[in-house]
Each structure stands twice: as structure tokens, then as C-alpha cells.
């Protein structure tokens, strides 16, 4: 999630939608801040460690369109590609991830169009996160995204990609990202890949121990 879009550029792939996209990004993160305060008051545990959000930069979005063989249009960026608005919520505990998930699933004005639980179904390499794709459900649709050809999907709203994970899952993903996107594969790649998987499983185990301890402490309060 790098670099924000240059505001006010007439060249933007997002056309006239940029302000609305930024507003949506803020709306969802603000609702998460409200949830955070409510839970903090109730349990004295802050469920959220930090929130990152961004509108995908002009350059990254155009790169992605080219990579996927899509024309560099608003339709590609806002209908075919669904991570133009991205939010990452990093939680302290595993149960907090599901708490935030439930909050977002019932968020007014949005609907969940896709969910993938890579925490309960970790990827082969050890990657763990909860992925959601939300879509605005209040009739707001992006401007200038009318289908170009007959096979194009009509626009039904703005998409927001959300990634939820614990601190340890986040640390792991950051390291794995470094390895995956290195220009040259490391000589001992196989060792690193298997050790990353081992670490992912150890971190998951520690997350679960910490969860059990926290539940015990909360029970006794």
C-alpha cells in the first residue's frame, strides 16, 4: 500500500471519483475508530493496534491494469479491480480480528461481496489474514464507469478491500513480502521458504496461547 494519489490531477485514472473514494476510505476508518473506543471502554483492551488505509496510487493502479491486460480506464480501476481503496486493520489478538470482521459485515451503507478467511484456512506458505471486499450499498456508483463492451460488468458501487490480521501475522507478511518481491531469488530460497512457514506456524501458536491467556485474565476480572 504505497503512495497516495496526487490530488487535483486531471489525468487520474479514477476520473471524477477520487474525492468520493477518499471520503469512503475515511468513513470506514472512522467507524473503526468508534468501534475501538467502545471496546476500549468495555474491556480496557484496545482491539486495534493500528489502521493503515490508502487509495492505490496512480502509478500502481496503471501498472496493475497493464499487468492484467486491462485498458487504463476508470472502469478497469473501479469495477474490474477491487482494491483501489484499501484498508488494513492490525489487531492485538486473534479474536479482535473476528470482532472487527463482524463490525464491518454489519456496517451500514456497505455490503460484503467477498470474504476469505486465511486465518482458519492458512495459505500453503503460512500466510494468514482475513480478507473482505466491501461494496457501497447506498446507490452511490462511480462516475464514468459505464460498461464499454457487452461483456463488461456494470458498476454497482465502490469497492473497498479490507485486510484484517494480528500483529504477528502482519510482521510475518511484511517479511514474506520482502522475499517475494526481491528482484533476485535468494540462493537458499527453499530453506527460507520452509523456515518462513515454520515461523508462521510458531507465531500462530503463540497468538493462540496469548488468546487463551487473555480469555483467562478477562474471565477473572
Amino acid at each position: 500500500m504505497q503512495g497516495d494519489v496526487l490530488m487535483g490531477s486531471q489525468e487520474t485514472i479514477y476520473g471524477a471519483n477520487l474525492a468520493e473514494m477518499e471520503r469512503l476510505r475515511e468513513e470506514v476508518t472512522a467507524s473503526l475508530e468508534v468501534l475501538r473506543r467502545q471496546i476500549c471502554e468495555k474491556t480496557a483492551f484496545d482491539p486495534i493496534e493500528h489502521i493503515l488505509s490508502r487509495v492505490k496510487s496512480e502509478e500502481s493502479m496503471r501498472d496493475k491494469c497493464r499487468m492484467r491486460g486491462l485498458p487504463e480506464t476508470a472502469h478497469s480501476a473501479l469495477v474490474d479491480i477491487r482494491d483501489a481503496i484499501g484498508i488494513r486493520v492490525v489487531c492485538a489478538f486473534r479474536s479482535d480480528v473476528y470482532l472487527v470482521r463482524d463490525h464491518l459485515a454489519h456496517l451500514e451503507g456497505f455490503e460484503v461481496v467477498e470474504e476469505k478467511d486465511y486465518i482458519k484456512n492458512a495459505k500453503e506458505n503460512g500466510y494468514r489474514s482475513y480478507h473482505m471486499i466491501l461494496r457501497t450499498a447506498d446507490g452511490r456508483v462511480p462516475v464514468g464507469c459505464e460498461p464499454v463492451s457487452a461483456g463488461d460488468e456494470p458498476s454497482r458501487g465502490f469497492y473497498i478491500e479490507v485486510q484484517l490480521r494480528t500483529i504477528s501475522m502482519d510482521t510475518w507478511a511484511a517479511l514474506e513480502h520482502h522475499m517475494k518481491y526481491k528482484k533476485q531469488a535468494p540462493a537458499n530460497e527453499r530453506l527460507i521458504v520452509s523456515e518462513l512457514k515454520r515461523c508462521a506456524d510458531e507465531l500462530a501458536s503463540t497468538d493462540l496461547s496469548m488468546q487463551a491467556l487473555r480469555d483467562l485474565i478477562l474471565e477473572e476480572l
Partner: protein, 226 residues
């Protein structure tokens, strides 16, 4: 760690004599005098080894053994038989006995066989384990069902003990003696916490297995929904 032995023999004098010898060797012996008594003792607690006489009133040692194996109990068993017929020995081994000893036997041979089996259980009993949809790797401590995690050495020992005695309630004292024998500080709360860890991890990997609390002890059992 004291090795716990269940000994079932209906001849009262022999029962007493063997029990005394085994206790003198440092084993903890639960003596039973018929198959039914042996069965309820086996259901009530976990043993490291069982010595069963074949010919007993009520229920034969062979039937006790068959029921043990049918319920997944892998406790090592030595069968004692008055008959030296090949068929009886074969029946015993086929029913899941680990060893047999024809009567009359020399006491020191029984003791040697008990040592041999008890040693096998602790030295070699560290292979990979499985229960329902859960697999536990003894080398890497990887615990696997739909997902995998790496558990700690103490968690591994606890789960291994539970898997070796599935569907059977293990008392807190038994678990403390088995897993925390070197730690004076360990108590009921320690066991309870490690059971919580295991539950959390079993749930975390999407296993259809949990550790339940029952009658002051813990039992590993299958659950339908995760």
C-alpha cells in the same frame, strides 16, 4: 515418573506374590481379581502397562484386551496364559497383546518383560501420533488438521499423553506426575492453563477434536462442529 501397572489375576496367592515383587521393583500396582474388575479399573484411570491373565472368571483377559483395543486404548499388554497352545498365543497377539508369558513363569522373567515393555513405551513411544483429524509430528512438534501450528514441548507432552489414552478421563494428578514431575511449582492451575492452550490450538487449526473437563480430569474427544 512411576510406572503404573494394572495386574489382573484370579489366583489370590499368585496375585499377592506378583504384586509384592513388582512393587518392590518400584512399580505402582493396581491388583484386580477378575476381568470385570480389571475393566472398571482401566476405565477409571490410565495405566502405563497391563498384565492380564487369560483365564479369569467373569471376563477373560483376552476379552478385556479386545475391548481395550476396540476403544483405541494402546496401553501395552502382557498376557499370562496357563495354556501353551500355539493357538492361544496367536489369538492373544492378534487381539493386540504386546507380549505373552506362559504359566508357570519365573518371577524375574516377568519383571524383565515388564521393564522391556515399559522402556519401549517411553523410549520408542515418540513416533508420530494421530487422533481423529489431528496429526501430531513428534520431531517437529507440528500439530495439523485443516491448518498447522508448532506447539511447545510441554504442550506436546500433554497432547501426546491425551492421544495415547483417547476418550479416557485423565486425572490432574496423573497428568502432573507424567508431564510436570520435575516441577514443584506445577499444580492444578498449570494443567488447566495448558489444557486451555491446547483447546485454543486445536480450534485454531480447525480440528474436530477438543480437550474436555470431566469429573476433575481431562479427556481428549471428538467434536462435530469446529
Amino acid at each position: 515418573m512411576t510406572t503404573k501397572i494394572l495386574y489382573a489375576e484370579d489366583t489370590v496367592d499368585l496375585n499377592r506374590a506378583v504384586s509384592v515383587v513388582l512393587e518392590r521393583e518400584g512399580f505402582q500396582v493396581t491388583a484386580c481379581h477378575d476381568g470385570v474388575e480389571a475393566e472398571s479399573a482401566l476405565a477409571a484411570e490410565a495405566f502405563d502397562l497391563a498384565i492380564l491373565d487369560i483365564m479369569m472368571p467373569g471376563k477373560s483377559g483376552l476379552d478385556v484386551l479386545r475391548d481395550m483395543r476396540a476403544t483405541g486404548d494402546v496401553t501395552p499388554v502382557i498376557l499370562l496364559t496357563a495354556k501353551t497352545e500355539v493357538d492361544d498365543r496367536v489369538d492373544g497377539l492378534m487381539a493386540g497383546a504386546d507380549d505373552y508369558l506362559p504359566k508357570p513363569f519365573a518371577m524375574k522373567e516377568l519383571v524383565a518383560r515388564v521393564y522391556s515393555l515399559a522402556r519401549r513405551n517411553t523410549d520408542y513411544g515418540t513416533g508420530n501420533l494421530s487422533y481423529a483429524d489431528v496429526e501430531l509430528n513428534a520431531e517437529t512438534y507440528e500439530l495439523k488438521a485443516r491448518n498447522s501450528v508448532r506447539i511447545s514441548p510441554v504442550e506436546f507432552e500433554l497432547l501426546r499423553t491425551l492421544i495415547l489414552h483417547p476418550n479416557r478421563t485423565l486425572s490432574v494428578d496423573f497428568l502432573l506426575g507424567r508431564i510436570w514431575s520435575d516441577e514443584d511449582d506445577a499444580d492444578e492451575a498449570t494443567v488447566s492453563l495448558y489444557v486451555r492452550y491446547l483447546r485454543s490450538k486445536l480450534e485454531g487449526i480447525g480440528a474436530h477434536v477438543t480437550v474436555s473437563e470431566r469429573g476433575g480430569g481431562y479427556v481428549l474427544e471428538e467434536v462435530e462442529t469446529v
